[in-house]
């Protein structure tokens, strides 16, 4: 030990292997400040009484609903956008999650080259930049599937295409960590493969299904590229597109208010998701049980 210490070129203070990494620690706090403060400031100014987004003029809820013309609630543009976002998020989640879960289960049991090709196709859709998917779909709806008109329908089809890989990846990861033992035990005890699937595997998959539903919903709220290309006019533009359109054109704090509502929706969702996750993993708790970190890891 002393030999090691003597060989160390550093000073005394650095010889202690258990010393706290103070530089690293301050670095991470700086990082967190950089990553969260700008957004916190934007949220703060959504409560500004004046029109400025950089000078504080007192607290008010003017931009949420008090202002009769410009507030999120009264500006028809903004509240159409809000409902379009929520509608698309709900529709996409309802279709993409079952589609993805069934795909994950099917592809897990279906061996062979065709299955591998479809799996490859799914993984490729996961890493393909959204811009490419958005533009290709725009061409498809303009030239091939021209009976699908741009607007909610096209946006929904595009979003499911882009999102379906999330539940597949999450559910397959969970299936790998569960292993085959439980299902095999059920079948040894006389269950048919379908019974084993329904009574044993599916309940074990609930946390993953839940997590992927939360993820898909939140990701659609955040989506911008696909919904913008596939929107027909202002009435089908969701919140993210409205923010993009007016961010550089002298916006009022109503835009910040809209963004804050988006943020709150996502946060509510994640709290709900966490509660649901705790509930669906209640049988697996050891000691303190799965913490938020496990929920996050599931995502």
């Amino acid at each position: 030990m002393s030999e090691v210490a003597a060989r160390s070129p550093m000073g005394n203070r650095f010889r202690n292997p258990w010393r706290k990494p103070r530089i690293l620690e301050s670095f991470i706090w700086l990082y967190l400040a950089w990553s969260i403060l700008p957004v916190a400031i934007a949220v703060l100014f959504s409560f500004n009484a004046g029109r400025s987004r950089s000078t504080w003029q007192g607290f008010s809820l003017r931009w949420y609903f008090k202002d009769p013309v410009l507030s999120v609630w009264h500006d028809p543009n903004l509240h159409t956008a809000l409902f379009q976002t929520l509608r698309l998020a709900a529709l996409t989640t309802i279709i993409a999650v079952p589609l993805g879960v069934a795909f994950a289960i099917g592809i897990d049991r279906w061996r062979g080259r065709i299955a591998a090709t479809f799996n490859f196709q799914m993984l490729l859709s996961f890493v393909m930049p959204e811009l490419i998917i958005g533009v290709t779909l725009l061409f498809v709806f303009a030239n091939l599937l021209s009976f699908v008109h741009l607007g909610t329908k096209a946006q929904f089809l595009g979003l499911v295409t882009f999102q379906v890989s999330y539940p597949v990846i999450i559910v397959r990861a969970r299936m790998l960590s569960i292993g085959k033992e439980y299902e095999e035990a059920a079948m040894d005890l006389g269950a048919s493969p379908v019974q084993a699937l329904r009574r044993v595997l599916l309940p074990l998959l609930y946390p993953a299904i839940f997590a992927s539903a939360v993820l898909v919903f939140a990701d659609v709220i955040d989506d911008f590229v696909i919904v913008r290309y596939l929107s027909s006019d202002a009435s089908t533009e969701p919140m993210a597109v409205k923010i993009f359109n007016s961010a550089r054109a002298s916006p009022t704090p109503a835009l910040n208010a809209l963004a804050t509502i988006m943020l709150t929706t996502s946060l509510l969702l994640i709290v709900l998701g966490y509660v649901g996750y705790r509930f669906s993993t209640r049988g697996e708790r050891r000691g303190a049980g799965p913490g938020f970190g496990d929920f996050a890891a599931e995502l």
């Binding site: 670095f27 967190l32 061409f139 493969p193």
Partner: protein
């Protein structure tokens, strides 16, 4: 008993269920992606090698590959590589910006992920929550926050002028490469922290202790053990941030909006919206796909390998 069970299992899908039983689970998702993900690339090919309607200026796809017209493709390639290559700079710029932004992402994300994986202790859960928070905050909102801060009368300029660091407000939002690169870093860095954290967290601490026991100091342990073991995670993280950056145009539009900083994504977005330019957009999309196919295949094969390793 065991033997019958095993025989039954060996048979499932054969006797108990028809052969199409399990494939039928996967079929809806597979067909969905076939129609709306795979086939669209053929449509883009047909548009890229198609013609333009002389009156309405909209692209007319040519479905038969034998009749494909390569003119537009050749023109665009000429605009990128030729003598009068006005599309060349945006292409070069894209590579430069993405390389810079992913390098900065790595320089920031690695220490952060390293700290949380090794030293966070009891605060680990809370730190993880804070680190994934940006995932739940809309990208547009995070960019809007910076548009507010960097405006001419924004907080950044006001702090700088009141500290007398600059005489008059800096126009951060009009065509400054540094704003665009830092915007990309800010937007995509959370996607890098998570794979890095997962990779660093998997490293067996016994290996690190062994290195220390054998006389390596901290720096050496890091350089000879931790860093090599996290190589996969670094590569995966780089690819996962670089891919969306290549397809990004909105960060650029919001934080610069100037042709001086435009990237491939901007070229595509601009031509999609311009009458008569649809064919060009299709060609550019094809070129971008070809550029990105190697990193995409790398990522897909590395996740496939990781899955096989985990399943044993």
């Amino acid at each position: 008993m065991l033997r019958t069970a095993r025989r039954r299992r060996a048979k499932d899908g054969g006797v108990w269920y028809p052969r199409w039983f399990w494939p039928s689970f996967a079929a809806p998702g597979a067909v969905w992606l076939l129609v709306l993900f795979a086939v669209p690339f053929y449509v883009v090919l047909s548009v890229a090698f198609g013609t333009v309607d002389p009156i309405f200026r909209n692209p007319v796809p040519v479905w038969n590959p034998i009749q494909w017209y390569p003119g537009t493709f050749r023109d665009v390639l000429g605009q990128i590589f030729g003598t009068n290559a006005f599309l060349g700079p945006p292409f070069l710029r894209t590579f430069l910006y993405v390389a810079m932004a992913s390098a900065i992402c790595l320089l920031i994300a690695y220490p952060v992920a390293y700290y949380v994986a090794r030293y966070a202790g009891r605060r680990r859960g809370m730190l993880l929550v804070l680190l994934i928070a940006p995932f739940w905050i809309s990208y547009m909102m995070r960019m809007l926050a910076w548009v507010n801060l960097l405006g001419n009368d924004g907080l950044v300029n006001r702090s700088l002028t009141s500290l007398h660091l600059v005489g008059h407000p800096v126009a951060w939002l009009s065509g400054r490469p540094i704003t665009v690169v830092l915007g990309l870093v800010y937007g995509y860095i959370p996607y890098m922290i998570l794979p890095l954290f997962a990779g660093l967290d998997r490293i067996d601490t016994n290996l690190l202790e062994a290195a220390r026991d054998l006389g390596a100091n901290r720096a050496r342990t890091f350089a000879r053990v931790t860093l090599p073991l996290s190589k996969q995670a670094i590569l995966a993280g780089m690819v996962i941030v670089a891919l969306p950056m290549f397809g990004d145009y909105f960060t650029n539009d919001l934080l610069s909006g100037s042709p001086k900083t435009s990237m491939i994504g901007n070229l595509i977005d601009d031509s999609v919206g311009t009458p008569g330019q649809g064919t060009n957009a299709a060609v550019l999309v094809l070129i971008l796909t070809v550029i990105l196919i190697i990193p995409m295949l790398y990522y897909v094969s590395s996740t496939g390998r990781a899955t096989r390793e985990r399943s044993g």
